[in-house]
């Protein structure tokens, strides 16, 4: 943590689909951060496809990934994981639109030597991912807190 802030590469990656209800939480958090976040941060919106994910975070000092999560917990719950927790057994299983989940993408990045120095995951428990451009009330009310959590990660970088 000795490098000056200007020399550090920080990326926030929002994963999700804006037209699929709560799945759009990642991109929505990005929208808020573009207005409220600190300068010098790169924002990338992705669909979760692993090679683009790896490209987005490779070489960064800090990457914060914001994603939707389904663990059976109450909708709106915010999960915070670091790389080790993400990749530990039983977490982040490979059910995704592409057969390769976030945890697998991180593991793939690690095998190829293309992980950020620090990887943090902020995942919001979803309620409804049917077609639609609005968030469910539970997830909408979790949005400001999710933004704060990401800002906290950036502040501690």
């Amino acid at each position: 943590m000795t490098a000056p802030a200007a020399a550090r590469t920080i990326v926030v990656i929002g994963i999700g689909h804006r037209f699929r209800g709560d799945d759009g939480i990642g991109p929505r958090v990005l929208d808020a951060l573009r207005d409220a976040g600190p300068p010098g941060v790169r924002y990338v919106e992705l669909d979760g496809e692993p090679s683009r994910l790896i490209d987005a975070w490779a070489g960064a000092d800090l990457a914060v990934v914001v994603d939707a999560a389904r663990s059976g917990g109450p909708p709106g719950t915010i999960h915070r994981l670091d790389q080790r927790a993400l990749m530990s057994p039983g977490r982040g299983g490979a059910v995704s639109g592409h057969g390769i989940g976030l945890a697998d993408a991180a593991a793939l990045g690690e095998a190829l030597g293309r992980l950020p120095v620090r990887l943090r995951i902020v995942a919001v428990e979803v309620a409804d991912t049917g077609p639609g451009t609005t968030l469910s009330p539970e997830v909408a009310s979790a949005l400001p807190r999710a933004v704060e959590v990401v800002l906290g990660e950036l502040a501690h970088s």
Binding site: E49, I54, A69, V95, G97
Partner: protein
């Protein structure tokens, strides 16, 4: 497909990994014979055709791009061609070349992802792309680099890599200058080398002996390896205009799947995709791709779906070389788009998505609103043929134990690179509390 009440052997809950979307396979065996094969697609239905009704005739390229995160360009291009056909407009010259160039980017991206991360692990005894990255790091790195160059083409012409924003009915919002394309050319020369290495790599895999029993259907254009329009032809002699597609193909609902099954009237199941393109259009491949294919021991007579990984690799090489050629010949057009006025008609459009023929049909009213939309994606066309193929493959391998048979079936499904849906993405998270 008949149901027997008590199968003696049941392969079930084979949830498909390394395919695009959510699906599963169920196979029943009775009396030493396969009695039922069901490729189940349980991705929620998506109602895109209903969304499109009442929207302006200019909107389908943007709306339908959202159907797929892997092949949005295909949806945009089929939508544009269908609407332009309805409105009596032909887009040609440099605007058409730019469309082809953008499509090259998508083929490179999509095929490279499938070849390296989804399908290659099957042939190298790896369970996953991750394991492959550990055992064949160089190959995976090459794949990621190649795919990135595909992304760069789509991003440069389309405005962004996923769901491009620069495509419109009639052409583009903005077209690149020759100078804009110059750096891409350098990258593509590099990509072409990588693609050639990929063909050599996959050609060395071991392929089970197997022949697909299906009519192969693809667009055909006598002047180019067809991607943007042409006639719809088959290995069984079908030769129809794109406008006649709906007269020859029926789609019907089956209970197990949220995707419709398509059939050719009087002909039954059929297969679209790389194997079909190769069978019908091999002669139109770029020369460099034909040389590589010949060295890999494969040509248009290939009917082994396990070798479709080689065909995809050759199509990537073809696309890299074609992209260089298109850049070299590019003269910026006078205008970024041809003006298109709505016309009260029905229009058809078809292009070759990475996974095969993608047909769109729109009916437009006098005010320019869409009154009816029908989208027939490659995977729904292939679903019946995939089931049929698995039926034969499993019947030929009934002496194999359940686990290896499951594994073989899964590889066989991936041969067809089914794109069940790319609509949602979840971090499927198990919270462990101690």
């Amino acid at each position: 497909m008949t149901h027997s009440s008590r199968p003696e052997r049941l392969l079930e809950n084979l949830t498909l990994a390394r395919v695009e979307g959510e699906g599963a396979l169920r196979v029943e065996v009775s009396g030493g014979k396969v009695t039922d094969v069901q490729l189940r697609i349980y991705e929620p239905p998506r109602f895109f055709e209903a969304f499109l009704r009442g929207r302006a005739f200019t909107e389908p390229p943007d709306i339908t791009a959202r159907i797929c995160g892997i092949c949005p360009v295909a949806y945009q291009m089929s939508a544009c061609l269908a609407i332009e056909a309805a409105c009596g407009v032909t887009v040609d010259g440099p605007l058409r070349d730019l469309r082809r160039l953008m499509y090259c980017g998508e083929w490179i991206e999509s095929h490279t992802l499938h070849v390296h991360l989804l399908h290659a692990p099957d042939f190298l005894g790896c369970d996953s792309a991750l394991e492959l990255a550990k055992t064949h790091r160089g190959a995976v790195e090459r794949g990621l680099e190649l795919k990135k160059i595909g992304n760069e083409i789509v991003e440069l012409i389309g405005g962004r890599a996923v769901h491009p924003i620069n495509v419109r009915v009639g052409g583009f919002y903005r077209t690149p200058s020759r100078r804009d394309l110059a750096p891409l050319r350098e990258r593509l020369l590099h990509a072409r080398d990588l693609a050639r290495q990929t063909v050599e790599w996959v050609a060395g895999f071991d392929f089970p002996d197997h022949v697909v029993d299906a009519e192969l259907v693809a667009l055909h254009d006598p002047n180019e390896y067809a991607v943007l329009g042409g006639r719809i032809m088959s290995t069984g002699g079908l030769d129809i205009a794109v406008d006649d597609f709906s007269d020859h193909v029926t789609e019907h609902q089956v209970e197990r799947s949220t995707a419709l099954h398509a059939r050719l009237l009087e002909r039954g199941h059929y297969l679209v995709g790389p194997l079909a393109r190769f069978a019908l259009n091999y002669d139109q491949l770029q020369p460099i791709a034909k040389v590589a294919a010949a060295a890999a021991g494969i040509d248009g007579s290939c009917r082994n779906p396990f070798q479709s990984i080689v065909v995809r690799a050759v199509e990537v090489l073809h696309s890299c070389d074609l992209a260089v050629e298109l850049i070299d010949g590019y003269e910026p057009p006078d205008r970024a788009a041809v003006p298109v006025e709505p016309s009260e008609r029905t229009g058809h459009g078809a292009t070759e998505a990475p996974r095969g023929l993608l047909h769109h049909r729109y009916r437009i009213d006098a005010a320019g609103l869409i009154t009816d939309a029908v989208i027939t994606p490659p995977t729904s066309q292939n679903q019946a043929a995939i089931e049929h193929d698995l039926w034969h493959l499993i019947e030929d391998n009934l002496d194999v134990d359940d686990e290896p048979l499951r594994a073989l079936a899964e590889v066989a499904i991936r041969n067809f690179d089914p794109c069940i849906s790319c609509a949602t993405h979840f971090l499927d998270l198990t919270v462990v509390r101690s």
